[in-house]
Amino acid sequence: MTPWMLIPAHVRRSPLRSFLTVGSVAIAIFLFCLLRTVVTGIEATVSKTSSTRVITSSAVSLFVNLPVSMWDKIRAVDGVRAVTHWTWFGGVYVDPKEFFARFSVDPPSFREVYGDRHPGGAIYLLAEEEWTAFERERTACIAGADIAEKYGWKVGDRIPMQGTIYPGDYEFTLRGIYRTSNASFDQQTLFFHWKYLDEMQGGIGSVSTFTSDLESPELAPLVAGSVDSQFSSSANRCITLTEQAFQAQFVAMWGNYTLFLSFIGGAVLVAAFMVTLNTLLLNARERVTEVGVLKTLGFPDASIGLLNLAEGVALCGLGGLCGVGFSLAVEPALFSVLKAFVPTFSILPETSAAALCIATALGLLSGAIPGVMAARIPVVRALRRVG
């Protein structure tokens, strides 16, 4: 029999100390949930990409363009249903700090691959008249609903843009505000005509990547091999990857972010462990006499050790619940901040469960040391601390 009533009584005994301990664990668990969700969000973004699309980029670097003349040759490869191309524009809107992705594309083929003309359904959702307006007007652009909301853009608005990679003063007319049907695709990108860019630059003749939509996913290796071999001996060697592999390669450019984020999360958890251990050791030191009294009354050593262990689990468990609860409460706010980088930011039940397990483990570890000390101290020595 263990005198469990002592646990809430002890927690209430030093409310500030208990509050700070619970708070430190809660913050650590909140950070764990946040960092873990960034990792799972990125992984989900990569995994939710299509298996019928392959992306061709320069074999030298993602920052090296390919000649637009390759487009026809790729379109001619067996198994390819449609091909479109993307070109990273960069540029400045109002202020360099106002960052969002801007790409020039070929609207008709873009609509074929990602829009309402795709037989499998559209990823970028626009009304037909918006697609048509985007295709028809050379300075037209479409923008994601999130940036349109952020900047208060409405269809018909003029959007000035200063070129950086491709210098010049551009002005686009917003002809559509899209939403996406797949969480892997954000709603914070602006697309405009590649031909407008080409014209402004006096003929750049190149694009960043080609995206080929295949007749079936099984054709991906054959198409990739065929495209790459066509240009293997040219000055424009290319590499063709599935959309998933391409995204994974893109993410890999950030470095080993999983290790980095795990390191930060781990360091915070270790700090929380030290805070909790320190608190429980202080508590145990103050309660040596109580331990002596409990042993005198006949409580077995194991029960007394268990009491410390349970106190650690109670404090850390409470911190864990607060941390997970807070994470879930602020999830929408975090999503709005992070969606440009992690479009699928969502705290998974597995993440919450792992956070609670970690909090419990922290409690067990923190409670174990004072628990063993309390269980092992001889009763006479414990009572001798009196007075």
Binding site: L6, T296, L297, V380
Partner: protein, 244 residues
Amino acid sequence: MAAGSAGRRVIIEAADVVKTYTRGGETVYVLDGLDLEVREGEWLALMGPSGSGKTTLLNVLGGLDHPDSGNVIADGEDIEALSSRDLAAWRSRHVGFIFQLYNLIPVLTAYQNVELPLLLTSLDRRERDAQVRTALGLVGLAERLHHYPNQLSGGQEQRVAIARALATDPTFLLADEPTGDLDARSAASILDLLATLNRDLGKTIVMVTHDPRAADRADRLLHLEKGVLLEQERRGRAPRPDGA
């Protein structure tokens, strides 16, 4: 030996008990071949200077400390043969401890402090509740059930400690200077309470004290010096303050 306890069975028997400590490389005999018998219903007082071994003897009799050699038989059981766990269980059944500084758990109410040892019994919540109220009623604190130790006077705290010691109806009480931290009036009241427990409920009490007035209330007084029983005073029961 008091007339009341003469002829009764021996409830605690210590035989040739030796307890030593090593201090600065030197062996100090705290208990040096001590023999002692305590009979059922007896109130025994132990006196002696500081360091004479009184508290050590009390700890050994209560199974809190182990002698280096010798035997302690309590209620027919050789407590030195018990494992640590069994010894703890034995203490909870047979011994009620009363400390000089009360040693109540400060975060628990008087009720919860008294309930603590009952958690080790098979009593259910209702039975425990009855037992706690009876014990606190016996020490005159039925109205202070939900007070915390810091809301009680020293005398009241000691009464709660006595109620806690009594709650499980132990075979004997071990009191280590129970009046040592109290003013004269509270001390007299605690001694009256112990006398009532001994006389009316037949509780066996072994009490360590420095206070001659406390020792006077006991049936028998032993003097300890350097771990040796120097003299043994046998006396009749001290008269009650009310003259009865």
